[in-house]
């Protein structure tokens, strides 16, 4: 399908983890960062989620979705998948949380996960501020960000309409137990992602020349 002699493979994944470390190399029969086979050179890049601009993207999404929430009274929750299958899966989200904390915009910044603790369903106990902004650290608005996380947050019931027909982002803010909750779309849908993919390729060349 791809005939070029030089091929860069950029995983459109939010973090290093089980899929980038195991499944993609297995399925593409990669032997390392550079694999030469059938007269083609395959270069296996980092996932897009490792790009340094992810921090800006997350902050941009948070500010955009909660325009009327005063940052000094806001808890920011970065929600990611997390999995018991690979310890790196949660690392990217935790790294982003640390970078956002360093910027001192929000008094409280926490990471929460779907499949490992601290779990996103506990958001009420993980945060203390009146305003809570939840940004999914995901590539696309798919089943997890459209359906699973809203259910875990308690802003949607389990048996609702198909994910593709919902408008979960249009009801912000959700008022729950004296809190105002804002829920953002996945960051991977941002137009900046195309540039990030190209930069990922450049970074590969800088690191492997």
């Amino acid at each position: 399908m791809v005939e070029a002699p030089e091929v860069y493979i950029v995983p459109n994944f939010i973090s290093e983890g089980y899929f980038t470390a195991k499944v993609i190399p297995r399925e593409l029969e990669l032997t390392g960062a550079v694999t030469i086979k059938n007269h083609q050179t395959l270069r296996y890049c980092e996932p897009v989620g490792s790009d340094p601009r992810m921090t800006d993207l997350l902050l941009h999404r948070a500010a955009e979705v909660a325009r009327d929430a005063p940052p000094q009274n806001t808890s920011l929750v970065i929600v990611a998948h997390g999995t018991g299958l690979n310890e790196n899966s949660a690392v990217a989200a935790k790294r982003q949380v640390a970078a956002i904390r360093d910027r001192a915009i929000y008094p409280e910044v926490v990471a929460a996960f779907m499949e490992e603790p601290p779990e996103i369903s506990e958001w009420m106990n993980l945060t203390t501020q009146t305003y809570v902004v939840v940004v999914p650290f995901f590539i696309s608005d798919g089943l997890h960000s459209y359906q699973d996380i809203p259910v875990l947050l308690g802003i949607q019931s389990e048996n609702s309409a198909p994910a593709s027909q919902q408008d979960v982002f249009r009801h912000n803010p959700y008022e729950l137990r004296n809190r105002k909750l804002y829920y953002a779309g996945a960051i991977g849908t941002d137009p900046m992602m195309a540039d990030i993919i190209l930069d990922t390729v450049d970074r590969f060349d800088q690191q492997h020349d």
Partner: protein, 225 residues
């Protein structure tokens, strides 16, 4: 190479791949339609970029998400007008990812179908349990999930322990030359114009897909509870 071959194919006449009919209407101008629209007189919505295909393939007529792109439920009512072979190739890849290249590889003898046992043995994580799928369950699943009428239009080239899963599927399901739209198409065109039939491009399945594996997981899970 792929584009050159696509160009040559289209020069010699319209092609049909899955539910698509692709033709070069005049040099350098191409039209892609749903085969049902190719013979009807109804007004079609005109699109002029391959990217429109991404939207067309996403939902069926009822608005359900089409997870399986090979399913025989592509929407009708549109016409893609494209002005270059790379655009045509891109559109075909949006409709049927990898299908045209797979056919070229097949012609060159470069395609090795993967036995289902090999596919399942390779699975890890939550799909590891699919290794426990029995042969009879795999046959039943193929009969239901891959059937050309309601499942998928691809021609199956893979095997289960070296044997084609033909217990619940017609012989034609394994024949690259057979048109998987088959009877359905004949019925539809019975009264239609007797124009030149498009050249049939085999739409091949060389390995059970991840949706098949996900179904296999459900079967194993139900039986182990």
């Amino acid at each position: 190479m792929i584009e050159q071959l696509l160009q040559e194919c289209l020069r010699s006449g319209p092609i049909q791949l899955g539910e698509l009919v692709v033709r070069e209407v005049e040099p350098g101008r191409f039209v892609i339609r749903h085969w049902k629209d190719d013979e009807s007189q109804q007004k079609l919505r005109i699109e002029t970029s391959s990217i429109a295909a991404l939207e067309i393939v996403r939902y069926d007529e009822q608005g359900n998400y089409r997870a399986l792109k090979g399913a025989p439920n592509l929407r009708t009512g549109w016409e893609l007008r494209l002005e270059s072979v790379p655009e045509v190739r891109q559109a075909i890849d949006y409709f049927y990812p990898g299908a045209f290249s797979t056919w070229l590889g097949f012609n060159r003898g470069e395609i090795t179908p993967i036995d289902l046992r090999q596919t399942l043995t390779r699975q890890t994580g939550m799909y590891r349990v699919t290794q426990r799928l029995a042969d009879f369950q795999a046959e039943e699943l193929a009969g239901r999930f891959c059937h050309s009428h309601s499942g998928c239009l691809r021609t199956i080239l893979w095997t289960i322990d070296g044997k084609a899963p033909e217990k619940y599927l017609p012989r034609s399901k394994f024949d690259p030359q057979a048109d998987q739209l088959g009877e359905c198409r004949q019925e539809h065109t019975k009264d239609g114009p007797a124009g030149a039939r498009p050249h049939h491009v085999p739409f091949l399945c060389v390995e059970a897909c991840n949706l098949f594996v996900a179904e296999a997981r459900k079967i194993v899970k139900v039986h182990s509870e």
